[in-house]
């Protein structure tokens, strides 16, 4: 595009773009104020903030506690990452329930599981949301004891706890 055309049109483009953005800001904020399912303009997105429930309890479980439950075989670990990552390596005995394909995997994965049993979901990364989303989903599906091991795959490995790979 010749520079003269660009130079000639840039002021108009800037002015119109500003109009569109200002209109969008007003509409976005006003509609949010008016709706019943509005979200706060500023929210706590820290790990603690994301995992705290309406009753004030946290969904997060400390590694030490998860380790004890693992050793006593008192919890079921669910890996919320994709199937490929699960096959490469996962917490020993964990089941794969990829959040992105939860509807496909869910009926098979929960076969034989008691909805009262303690379930610990995990994924990888401090801000990975898959395990959190999966935990909320499980709670909505009637599971009463669901916890999230934050950054589970990494912290589990860092502490040399038992892992395994899948042959699939």
């Amino acid at each position: 595009m010749p520079m003269s055309i660009l130079r000639q049109n840039l002021p108009d483009a800037f002015r119109e773009a500003c109009f569109i953005i200002v209109l969008s800001i007003i509409a976005g904020l006003a509609v949010n104020l008016a709706r019943t399912d509005s979200i706060p303009f500023i929210q706590d997105w820290s790990t603690e903030g994301r995992l705290s429930q309406d009753n004030g309890d946290s969904l997060a479980i400390p590694l030490s506690e998860a380790k004890t439950l693992f050793k006593e075989n008192k919890a079921i670990f669910l890996d919320a990452r994709g199937q490929e990552l699960f096959n490469e390596g996962h917490i020993k005995g964990a089941r794969s329930l990829p959040w992105h394909e939860v509807d496909d995997y869910f009926p098979e994965v929960i076969k034989g599981m008691d909805r009262e049993s303690l379930v610990i979901t995990y994924c990888d990364g401090e801000s990975c949301n898959l395990s959190h989303d999966l935990a909320i989903f499980l709670k909505n599906m009637g599971f009463t004891h669901v916890k999230v091991l934050v950054n589970g795959w990494t912290v589990w490995g860092e502490n040399n706890l038992p892992i395994e790979a899948s042959d699939k």
Binding site: Q8, E16, D37, Q43, H100
Partner: protein, 152 residues
């Protein structure tokens, strides 16, 4: 502007307008779910996540409406090109980091699946269309101004 360019100009603005409006609707209807998707990209500070989730879909909707109605075209086409460039940058950044996240481009539902190279290809196509539209819009406006100048 010859008839082919005029046809291409209207075609690109209608296609992009429809795409942006379609992309905005799910996000406007589910701001909470979209905020989570914005968070998952892990590029914005916490204070800006909800504001982005509330405002960005309206930018898409209003610019889509501008494109469909052929109004404020220099601004709307420029924003479309800038947005597509930013989206592609974000996808590249997260694919390079190996983050397993959803694009959130057209849906806030988990069924959309994680983003991949096809998502990138699709957005690259939209970027090419947006850049063509910017060029045609600027050209059309310049020609129009020139014609007006000569007819005065």
């Amino acid at each position: 502007m010859n008839s082919f360019l005029r046809f291409f100009y209207h075609l690109t603005r209608l296609v992009l307008g429809a795409v942006f409006i379609y992309a905005s609707l799910g996000k406007i209807l589910n701001p909470g779910a979209f905020a989570k998707i914005v968070f998952n990209y892990q590029v914005l500070p916490g204070e800006l996540i909800n504001l982005t989730a509330l405002i960005l879909p309206w930018v898409e909707l209003i610019l889509g409406a501008c494109l469909l109605s052929n109004r404020w075209m220099t601004g709307a086409s420029s924003i479309a090109a800038v947005l597509m460039t930013v989206f592609i940058g974000l996808i590249l950044f997260n694919l390079a980091r190996g983050l397993d996240i959803r694009c959130g481009c057209f849906s806030t539902k988990p069924e959309e699946g994680p983003m991949d190279k096809l998502t990138l290809l699709r957005d690259a196509l939209f970027l090419v269309l947006a850049l063509c539209l910017v060029g045609l819009t600027y050209y059309k406006k310049t020609v129009y101004h020139k014609n007006q100048l000569y007819t005065v």
